[in-house]
Structures are given as structure tokens and as C-alpha cells.
Amino acid sequence: MRTILAGLLAIGIVIAIPAAAFAESGSIGGRPAQPDPSNSRTKSIFVKTIAPNATVNDVVEVVNNTNVKKTIAVYATDSVVSSGGAFACAQMADGLNNVGKWITLSQNSVEVPAYESVKVPFTITAPSNAEPGEQNGCINIQEQKNTEFQSGVALSFRTAIRVAILVPGDIKKEITPQSISVVEKSDKLILSPSVKNTGNVSVDADITTTVRSLFGTVQSTQTSTFPVLRGEVTDWNFEVAKPFWGGLYNASFSATYDSSSNFIGDNNNKVPKTIDGQSKLVFVTPSLIAFLIEFTLFVGIIVGAYYLYRYLSHKKNVKTWVNYKVKANDNLETIAMKKAISWKLLARENSIKAPYILQEDQSIKVPGKVNAKKPSKTKK
């Protein structure tokens, strides 16, 4: 019996190893099935120009890259603006009020075999009162499955395909800079520039953030291209390395975009326009190592300055002070009082060490003129 079990175990291990090794994540999504070869953006989103009352047809490809057959929901929604001005899609439960309502899918649920895809045709009809400019909606692809009650936050997932529609008419393409905020976070600076789209179509803007020293030296610069949606204020969080030495720095940003009448993905006859955003003076704390170095240097400079002052003062005293012969009953304090200087200064200039005893007829140096100010400290 033991022998049989051992054999089965060994075979079991051999069979199980490949299964575990090739276990992969699921992959359910979709893409435009008929992208326009002249517009690379149409490989990932739908880009359409539709006049009021006009209808266009297209097809979405629903992909199941998992190893089992899936039932997948395909549904249209309006777009919404997510925090920070980012593009997002409304939920199915939100209802349809705008572009989501314009889209009619031939199917709302498809069975997709493992490692295959299914094409779902749809139409978009712009209503007669469609406002000129860009309107956005979404086609969402989501696995249909039952969920059981579980305490806490339960997560579902979906892939959405943006449907960007240009309704012809009076088109305005413009963004204006808003502000930049800077937050320090451990060894990083988070620069958050924001811009507002004051036009009626979205703009793909190259946002550049720069950190300069007060002398104008560039410490860091980053450029990334993001969409700025129609009518929205959009911000981003750029993480850059904190300047090692700390101190005052100038953070600024600019945005460059194509101000021509090109719509999404159209790169012909671009008219680049750059707008500069505000700059902000920020104090950056130095890194720990930099702080220690800076503190040591600071202390060194202070100590050095003190000794330099003493040296220069001594040199001056050597030139201006005169000889004085110590009389009976004189001591450092009485002489210092007469000359209106500190007894410590008198002792130091004459290299007199503790216990500060003077001998009668001893010659010491004293100021030639009596100082106007009296010494603040007296020898106890």
C-alpha cells in the first residue's frame, strides 16, 4: 500500500509542477476592432467625428485571454471626471445621460471561449442638440460573476474603452496654467502642477516641471504628456529626488500643446504652444548626511571666525597697547577696572594664566587710552 501511495505521489508531483508553473493571471479586456491606420490612438480608444443627427458604426473586440470560457458584460456609460481631473467612466448603476446614451451595442453580454475574442458591433448617434466640441463616453468590459457578502471593501474590475466624439462646430482649444504646489515626502519632492482646459475639446499637454536653485541651476526636470479634459482643472503628482543639500529652491512648470484644430491622434500641421505656469519658492530640508556636513561646516566657520577675531584683536592690541609696571596692591581686576576693559582680556593679551597672580614691578601691556565702556564682568 505504502509503495503504491509513493508512486502516485511522485506522479502527482510531476503533473502538478507544470500546472503551477504556468498558472497566470486572468486577462479580460477589449479594444477597438477596426482601428484607423492613419490614427494610432484608435488602436486603444474610439475617436469619432459625428455631426448632430448623424450615426456611425464601429465594432468593439471583447478579449478573453484566460484559459476558461467567460461570460462578459459589454455596456456603455457616460464618462466622469475622476479626482485630479483624470478621465474615468461612470458605473452601470449611474444611468445614462450623455454619450453613454448615444451608444447602442448589438449585445450587452457575450460568451467568449478561452483565448478567443468576440466582436460586438455598435452604433453611435449624436442627438440633434449635441453641443459642439468633444463629448466622451465609455464602452466597458467586465466579467459577470456573482459576489458573496464579505465584510470590508470588495473589489470588482473592468476595462473601459474611451469613446471620444468631436461634434463639429465652434471649436476652442485652450489651456491655462493654474498653480503648482510642492510637498516634501521623505527623500522626494512631490510637485503638483495644475492646468485648466478653458476650451471645448481635450488637449494632450506636455507638462514639464523644473526645480532650480536660487542661482538658476536646474536640479531636476521632468516632462510627461497627459490629457487635459474639456472644462476641467487637472493636476498631477510628479515625484522628483529631493535636492541633497536642501535650502531654497524655485519650482515651476510649463505646458506645451498643439493649438491647431487637430483632434485626438491627428498629428498633421501641429501648432505647438507653450504656456508658463507660476513658480514657487520652496524651502527643502537637507538630507541627514547633508545636514551633518552643513552643521559641521557652520560650527567650523563660527569657531574659525571667533579665533580670527581674537587674532586680529590681539594684533591690534599689540600695536596700540603700552607698557605698564605693576604697582603694589595691583591685581588684574583693579588694572582692568582702571582701563575699563575685561580682566580676562587683560590676562589673555599678557598670557597670564590661572591663578592670575601679578608681581610688583612686573611689566604688562595695557590699553593706552581708557575705554569709554566699562567692563560688564568682574573677577570674583
Binding site: 509503495t3 508512486g7 502516485l8 505521489l9 511522485a10 506522479i11 510531476v14 498558472a23 497566470e24 493571471s25 486572468g26 486577462s27 479580460i28 479586456g29 477589449g30 479594444r31 486603444s44 480608444i45 478579449v63 485571454n65 466622469v80 471626471v81 475622476s82 479626482s83 485630479g84 483624470a86 478621465f87 474615468a88 467612466c89 461612470a90 458605473q91 452601470m92 448603476a93 449611474d94 466597458n140 467586465q142 457578502f149 464579505q150 465584510s151 470590508g152 471593501v153 470588495a154 473589489l155 470588482s156 474590475f157 473592468r158 476595462t159 473601459a160 474603452i161 474611451r162 494632450d204 516632462t223 510627461s224 504628456t225 497627459f226 490629457p227 493636476d235 498631477w236 503628482n237 515625484e239
Partner: protein, 225 residues
């Protein structure tokens, strides 16, 4: 070598020979080998450390005790064993956004199993502690903090350059119904796989909320720009 080991070794040898023979048979029938790699799509889901999809991921909030006063409970989305992944196999060359919203929409609620008790996730009145002017009669507000999360590139050729994490944001009905977790710029890697761990959650629970287990369903959506 004892008997047990001998038998195990024999079985392995038999399986090995069988597999070898199978390979030889197929090789003889395929003189022209073709291989097709299907293009993938932009996807998001939760996977474990071995990148296997977690079927029904749930993230517990810290337990609290009944209180007559408003209180806050915290939690995180994304851990070492439940990572929030985004795959872009060249399907979104102009970047993408990853957002999080209540599946039930702006009128969603935290509900108990029988849906007899609930509280809100998007009522900003007194920081979520009391009910405001929205249609429901519930207080409560959920804040999501993607800035606290760690973003990791999980492939040999991809980096996190050009991908920005969103700012900590509280849901507010009809004002903020969706929170941005990630925004990938056009210049970010066209082919890449990334995951987030440690997305902060903070929920204000109104005073006198009955003790029970509550759940809310959130949907993570990835959209090409």
C-alpha cells in the same frame, strides 16, 4: 536507497520516458513550426505574489466597537499577497488611468448582509460624521489615499517613470464619485506590468451605527487615454 524512494524514482522515470515519447511523436508531425502570440489588452485585477488572479478580493477594515460618537476606521487595498495589478501589453500607447468608484454609483452605501443596516461612503457633511443633503439619510465618508501606496514595476523592461499616483481624496456625492489611483503619461512604458500595494483607506462612521459586518463593492477601472 529504501523501497519507498526506489518506487518514487521509478515512477518519475516512467513519466519522463512517457513525456519524451510524446514529444518525439509531435516533433515528427510538425516540420513547419508556427507560433502566434495574441495581442493582450489593458487589464487590471488583484493577484497574489505568484501573479495568480485572486477571484474575489476583499480588504478588511480595522475592527471598531460600537460608539455613540463618530469614529474612523482604516484599512488598505493592496498587500504582498493581494496586489492591485495593471497590465499594459502595448494596448494603451498614450497612457491610461486607473480609477476607483463605488460599483453601485454615487448612491452606494456600506451595507450589512441583510441590507437592513447601512452607512454612507460619500457624505462630506462634518467630515462624514452626519447626514447631509443627499437623498439617503446616512452619514459616513470614505477617503482613499493612493499617495500612500507603493507602485512597483513588475517586468524586466518596464519602469514607473511617467506614472503618477493620485492624491488622497474623499468621496463626495456628485462632486467626487471616482478617485484616481494612477495616471500613466503617454511617455510611460507602452509595454509594462505594475502593481500597487498599501493604498490607504479611511472611513468615517457616524455615531450610534449598529454593530454588524458591513461591505461596500468598489470597481477599479483601467481606461486607455
Amino acid at each position: 536507497m529504501n523501497k519507498f524512494t526506489k518506487v518514487a524514482a521509478s515512477a518519475l522515470a516512467i513519466v519522463g520516458v512517457a513525456l519524451s515519447l510524446t514529444t518525439v511523436t509531435y516533433a515528427a508531425n510538425n516540420t513547419n513550426v508556427t507560433q502566434t502570440i495574441n495581442s493582450g489588452t489593458l487589464v487590471t485585477d488583484i493577484r497574489d505574489a505568484s501573479r495568480v488572479t485572486v477571484a474575489s478580493p476583499t480588504f478588511a477594515m480595522a475592527g471598531t466597537t460600537f460608539s455613540f460618537n463618530c469614529q474612523t476606521t482604516t484599512g488598505t487595498i493592496g498587500s504582498a499577497s493581494q496586489r492591485l495589478y495593471v497590465d499594459n501589453p502595448g494596448a494603451a500607447n498614450a497612457g491610461y488611468t486607473l480609477t476607483l468608484a463605488a460599483t453601485a454609483g454615487a448612491t452606494g452605501l456600506w451595507n450589512n448582509a441583510g441590507v437592513s443596516q447601512s452607512f454612507d461612503f460619500n457624505d462630506p457633511t462634518t467630515a462624514g460624521c452626519t447626514d447631509g443633503a443627499d437623498a439617503d439619510a446616512k452619514g459616513g465618508q470614505l477617503t482613499v489615499d493612493p499617495a500612500a501606496a507603493t507602485l512597483t514595476a513588475d517586468c524586466s523592461s518596464c519602469t514607473v517613470t511617467g506614472i503618477t499616483k493620485g492624491t488622497a481624496t474623499a468621496y463626495s456625492q456628485a462632486v467626487t464619485d471616482s478617485v484616481t489611483l494612477l495616471t500613466a503619461a503617454a511617455g510611460s512604458d507602452d509595454v509594462g506590468r505594475w502593481y500597487l500595494t498599501g493604498i490607504g483607506l479611511s472611513q468615517a462612521i457616524p455615531g450610534e451605527q449598529p454593530n454588524d459586518s458591513y461591505t461596500i463593492n468598489l470597481t477599479a477601472t483601467v481606461t486607455a487615454s
